[in-house]
Amino acid sequence: MLTAADTDIEVRSLDTMGINESRLTHKWYHNIKYLLVGIAFGIVFVKAEIISWYRIQEMFRLQSFHMYGVIGSAIVIGAISVWIIKKFKIKSIDGEQIEFKKHPFNKGQIYGGLLFGLGWAITGACPGPLYAQIGTGATVVVVTLISAIAGTWVYGYFREKLPH
């Protein structure tokens, strides 16, 4: 019989996120710093028109370099930063060692990836831009977000039956 904690680890091992998390616990107001990073991030999303349905259509029709430039340069800067963090063993501000764990391959990355790609080209938004679009006043995107949350839930419900 698996304990709740065991399931938790098993569940997380298939997920890209939640593995490299801090083991420290903080009061809720420590989360304000993530709110501030999110605000800066949301402003970049809008100002660079990354949340624009048109930019996504241009990307998938090879009609503009913009989105390739954004994602490509983000990966380059991200990779250089990660390399520096590893090389100099940089710690977090709480003094925790930053470690990166390998994520195993599973077929979900193919099937799920294709399904997400289909949705991305229809809605013109990956999950981040959904939040930003709502912020810009496109209120009907609340329905898109709720539907995406429902999709997440349905995946969780059928997870054991799906090929991975």
Binding site: G38, W53, T144, I149, T152
Partner: protein, 187 residues
Amino acid sequence: MLEWIKQPWPWYVAGPLIGLTVPILLIIGNKSFGISSSMRHICAACLPANIPFFTYDWKKEMWNLFFVAGILLGGFIAIQLLANPATIQINPKLTKELAGYGITDYTGLLPSQLFNWPALLTVKGFLMIVVGGFLVGFGTRYAGGCTSGHSIMGISTLQWPSLVATCCFMAGGFIMANIILPFILSL
């Protein structure tokens, strides 16, 4: 200065800023950059229904919910204070194609003629808003991440499964935009 900020930002400004989110989140709290997980935490918080995938301590992941709330607020701030007064510049080929489907209003960042409340009651609107959203949520979780978690965080940490996932995101997008979407838009 403000006039300059109000212009659309080029990719070589926006991309590096987004890339910097990776080390910022790692350094301020040892957090891995990822956005689609927020929807899983919302499920875990609101309707776990004894599903193992949603029965975990979501409060530990609260930071992620603050992060996405920030993205929403950032969108609000950008449009209220820093909005570009000009209409969006789009490739003429796309404008021409969309005109064929009756899409001519380019005032917003997404076409208000497709994404509006009354559209929900039409087949086209339902497919684009509800079915599209469902695919985004189901697909990202099945894949274990989205553009941020896989394409940016995953590839930055040199994980080949994330590269596979990203190729599939793009393949799905190309199929939809070029083969299926023209049919949906003509409904």
